[in-house]
């Protein structure tokens, strides 16, 4: 079901989404697998090169976040035939994000990175939603119109 405020659906819901792939995220190689899977899914559905690159880069950011900050997780890719949206959901069981608005600000980093991943991912995706709870992990859902 899409969230009423932002239109973000749940790609793990089999009644609404055609499952494309699920990838366990543990090492940097899995990040590559995830973004390649997303790029393949977009290309095969006729998305333009620029939209494919943009969304694959966004997926790369949140998948790496799940590994670096969340201690590993899982990413599920699903396709909504009705709205022609490709959605991904990235889950981790890390310590969660204490202050989302602060984490979205460019330049904010807790791991010595550029601090542009989360905000950048939001700008690169058409739909973006982040749900986090202290100590319980983080779930990011992103979508792109194909």
């Amino acid at each position: 079901m899409p969230c009423p405020s932002c239109g973000v659906g749940d790609p793990t819901d089999p009644s609404a989404y055609v499952a494309v792939q699920s990838i366990s995220l543990q090492t940097s190689r899995d990040v590559v697998m995830a973004r390649q899977a997303v790029a393949r899914a977009l290309k095969s559905r006729g998305a333009s090169a620029i939209r494919t690159t943009r969304f694959a880069t966004a997926v790369s950011e949140i998948a790496r976040n799940a590994i670096v900050h969340g201690g590993g997780g899982e990413i599920t890719i699903g396709f909504d035939l009705a709205s022609a949206y490709l959605m991904v959901e990235c889950r981790d069981k890390g310590r969660g994000i204490a202050d989302i608005p602060q984490a979205m600000v460019d330049g904010f980093t807790t791991a010595g990175g550029l601090g542009r991943g989360l905000g950048g991912a939001k700008r690169l995706a058409d739909r973006f939603e982040i749900i986090t709870e202290a100590g319980k992990g983080t779930r990011v859902r992103m979508g792109v119109k194909v």
């Binding site: 940097s28 190689r29 590559v32 973004r35 790029a39 090169a49 620029i50 690159t53 943009r54 694959a56 880069t57 790369s60 950011e61 790496r64 460019d106 990175g113 550029l114 542009r116 991943g117 905000g119 950048g120 700008r123 690169l124």
Partner: protein, 291 residues
Amino acid sequence: MPQAATATILTILETKFSAIVEQWLGTQVKEGVKRSDLFSDSESRAQNAELLKAFAKGVRAGVTDDDFDLADPAWEDLRAVLADVTKERVSRGVTPTEMATFVLALKVPLFAQLQKTLPDNPSSLIFDVLMVTRLVDAFAIYTNEVFIAEREQIIERQREEMLELSTPVVELWDRVLTLPLIGTLDSARAQEVMENLLETILQRQAEVVILDITGVSTVDTQVAQHLLRAAAAVRLMGAECIISGISPMIAQTMVQLGIDVGTVSTRSSIRTALADALGKVGYTIQKNRDH
């Protein structure tokens, strides 16, 4: 039942050894897994005999009551021979199914021999058939594990080879280096690229370095950070760094990510970067006559 559990099986393995090897080979031919195209008859026979000998040794020493574990020291010979045979077979292109069927084919001659030895004792026969099944199944499962481990080693080795292959620093002209990056730039590769590059700058007294990312499909914040760090290190060594091969896709993505390249020069193609680099070291490219 100490010892008795495998007594008949052991007797068969000892007295009918050559017959079992021959029948094993015969079953492999019937199952279509002998691969005469990859192994000569004498090679196959020697492999089978060696495996069966090690198997018999394991049965003799490694089964107490009716329990066994292929990880025990008693089965060491079998594991060693199996590792060799599997390695040889993997390198010649045998599939996992063929390898497992190859081992499972051992059941046929063993069952046949048991039936001949115990024609009037169905309960012992069933007991021994069960024992042989468990032993050979464990043998086959272990073979598969060795097979997969061997494959994984090959994959890991290839990955390392690719890692090294993909970071060549090329001297384009006096004091001009280029480093064509291909694929993904994770932290391990970035580290290797950086070391390689800085070393070569020193050796060649380079003044301009072109980092070409035409072959990099995705530039996310981590890749960008590695690139900018490499550029900063190059500058610290007194050389100038040009990042080339920025496609329209990557340019747009980098802007949206909010990546600031600062004072690092960037070019869309390696061609313009090269012209630029040669200019910086005092050369111009001139057209020769009116071609």
